[in-house]
């Protein structure tokens, strides 16, 4: 059974069709990569799934329940958590405070909250930054903070919006390892938007290709990258599979 299921989702901005008739089904424990050219509607898709935007038509079901139009906080609390492509730290808080805030809807007590936060901060490799202001983090650190904060909310489904963008190739490896580990150890379902094809190829069980708001193709990474329509959508170029893409 699908843990996340979209059917017939439409979303327009002033007549511009950002998503049209999107169907999507993600199974529990699956890793799904979402790719597509800029402006294909990938982030809009996340916004609709997580309640930041209300779709004009269609429905979003999470764990068998219709969550279409629910508030973002309700969806987050029920176990579907997202990160932001443009990092949005709580600017007046330390890294650990950022993370413990995301945990406080399921964990009470100052010690337990901090313990929980520090554990996650260490897991994403930000240990020495734990008690520094979040705004002092460099880009790579902010990306990890986004991930840490989402993890602290105990996601059953984790939606990642370009967590690798802006990272050096050497910085990507530990993040990819962590994501793989999340599925293996925690059984977390992952849906991730990514431009770096090497990561998509390595991590995804299945890839969904969006183009101009519509699902262009879906299938295993190999199937999708061999699909002529996908190659066409990427301006006739074969999507590069090099790590430095």
């Amino acid at each position: 059974m699908s843990v996340l299921e979209l059917s017939g989702v439409d979303k327009s901005f002033r007549g511009l069709r950002a998503l049209s008739d999107v169907d999507m089904a993600v199974s529990e424990g699956e890793i799904v990569g979402v790719i597509g050219p800029n402006g294909a509607g990938k982030t809009t898709l996340f916004n609709v799934i997580c309640g930041a935007l209300k779709p004009d038509a269609g429905s979003v079901r999470f764990a068998g329940e219709d969550v279409t139009g629910h508030k973002p906080e309700k969806i987050a609390r029920s176990g579907m958590v997202r990160t932001f492509q443009l990092m949005r730290p709580f600017a007046t808080m330390s890294v650990a405070e950022n993370v413990s805030l995301a945990a406080q809807h399921h964990t009470r007590g100052a010690e337990r909250l901090r313990g929980h936060a520090v554990e996650i901060v260490e897991r994403v490799g930000l240990r020495e930054w734990a008690y520094r202001p979040a705004t002092e983090l460099p880009t790579a650190g902010l990306k990890r903070l986004e991930l840490a904060r989402a993890l602290a909310a105990r996601p059953r489904v984790l939606l990642l919006d370009e967590v690798l963008a802006g990272l050096l190739p050497a910085e990507r490896e530990p993040v990819l390892d962590l994501l793989a580990e999340l599925r293996e150890q925690d059984g977390t379902t992952l849906v991730f938007i990514e431009h770096i094809m090497a990561a998509v190829m390595r991590l995804s069980d299945r890839v969904l290709v969006l183009d101009q708001g519509a699902v262009l193709a879906t299938g295993t990474p190999d199937e999708v990258t061999a699909d002529p329509r996908v190659i066409e959508a990427y301006l006739g170029e074969e999507p590069t599979t090099h790590a430095d893409a």
Binding site: A52, F90, E128
Partner: protein, 354 residues
């Protein structure tokens, strides 16, 4: 220097700053207790005129603590806190004069009314996503509306306002004492101490942390499960209720209230200026600000009443305090944008982290 010394220093460096206290509120409560204890003998030491200034400082303090919860912690800039001050003042005055209800009960009723009105104003402002300057203007408009309604409403004595009926001797139940009695100061001290304690409790509660996160980034906070609307409403309600306490006490202390004193924009400005000068969004900012603004308001009043020879043109004029507030605001915003306490606290914590 030995290698191990270098090594260990590098290690402490790479480990980052040490963990801050787990419960910072404990230290804040201790500081508050010391401040309150130190303040208790003040009315017995100070001359009568300064005693009145001290009470005034405490009224400013309560107002600023109230404003700071909504606009400092919550980041929702209110230009209309006179609404809540006035509702506190008018609810207690009305209940006392028209129905003989104890001002203590009136104060509690005023808190409830102010909280309810704050939530109604808040709900519509948030529902229609008024932000920044537009939100400030909306709060200002509501305060003005209440001023005009009371001014033109016979049910609350219109522009005349209320005079608190005088009683013989003193009565704690009626919150009335002979002029210059230290009891006024002590009551105000308890109320102000309670307000600061509430603000400490709130700031470090789960709700308070959500409120600060929502201020920092609303969508990010919602995305990790912060219930946005509920916490914004809670914040404005608490802020309104605390400010109402200042209004109710003001009425009992000065024995008089009218629409201009209760709902006039100068009340809103006093709340803002006090918190801004002290430091927005900090626990102690309103305390520091109140001491400064409260004392200043006395200095200006004295200057206007009995100016020295070379300032004789000031005799009998008004508005000097507002001019001074404006000048101070400009200086603070220019030189110490986080307020006196906020800027000093930041400097101190930066030095400690190095």
């Amino acid at each position: 220097m030995t290698d191990t010394a270098v090594e260990s220093r590098r290690e402490t460096r790479s480990a980052g700053p040490a963990a801050p206290p787990l419960r910072p509120q404990n230290r804040q409560f201790a500081v508050l207790a010391v401040l309150v204890l130190l303040a208790i003998p003040l009315p017995l030491i100070l001359p009568a005129a300064q005693g009145a200034v001290a009470v005034r400082i405490l009224i400013f303090l309560i107002m600023a603590v109230g404003w700071n919860i909504m606009s400092g912690f919550g980041g929702m800039f209110s230009f209309g806190h006179a609404a809540y001050f006035g509702l506190g003042a008018y609810t207690s005055a009305y209940l006392l004069v028209e129905h003989g209800v104890s001002p203590w009960v009136g104060m509690a009723a005023g808190m409830v009314v102010a909280a309810a009105v704050a939530m109604v104003i808040g709900y519509f402002s948030f529902r229609y996503e008024l932000k920044g300057a537009y939100f400030a203007l909306a709060t200002f408009a509501f305060a003005e509306m209440l001023r005009l309604i009371t001014t033109s409403s016979d049910a609350v004595n219109g522009a005349v306002g209320y005079q608190v009926p005088l009683i013989q001797g003193s009565s704690l139940g009626q919150m009335q004492f002979p002029a210059g009695s230290p009891a006024y100061f002590w009551i105000a001290l308890v109320l102000a101490g309670g307000a600061v304690a509430l603000s400490i409790l709130f700031r470090h509660s789960a709700a308070g942390r959500y409120v600060v996160a929502i201020r920092d980034d609303e969508l990010a906070a919602a995305s990790v499960g912060a219930p946005v609307m509920r916490h914004k409403l809670l914040t404005v309600a608490l802020s309104g209720a605390i400010t109402a306490v200042a209004g109710a006490f003001y009425t009992q202390y000065y024995l008089f209230i009218d629409p201009q004193l209760a709902f006039g924009s100068s009340v809103s400005i006093e709340a803002i200026v006090t918190a801004v000068i002290g430091g927005i969004g900090t626990i102690w900012g309103p305390v520091v600000g109140a001491v400064i603004v409260g004392s200043l308001s006395d200095v200006t009043a004295t200057l206007l009443a009995t100016p020295p020879e070379f300032l004789s043109f000031l005799q009998g004029r008004s508005g000097l305090d507002v001019i001074l507030y404006a000048v101070m605001l400009i200086l603070i915003v220019r030189l110490m944008p986080k307020g006196i306490f906020g800027t000093l606290a930041e400097k101190f914590s930066e030095r400690r982290r190095r």
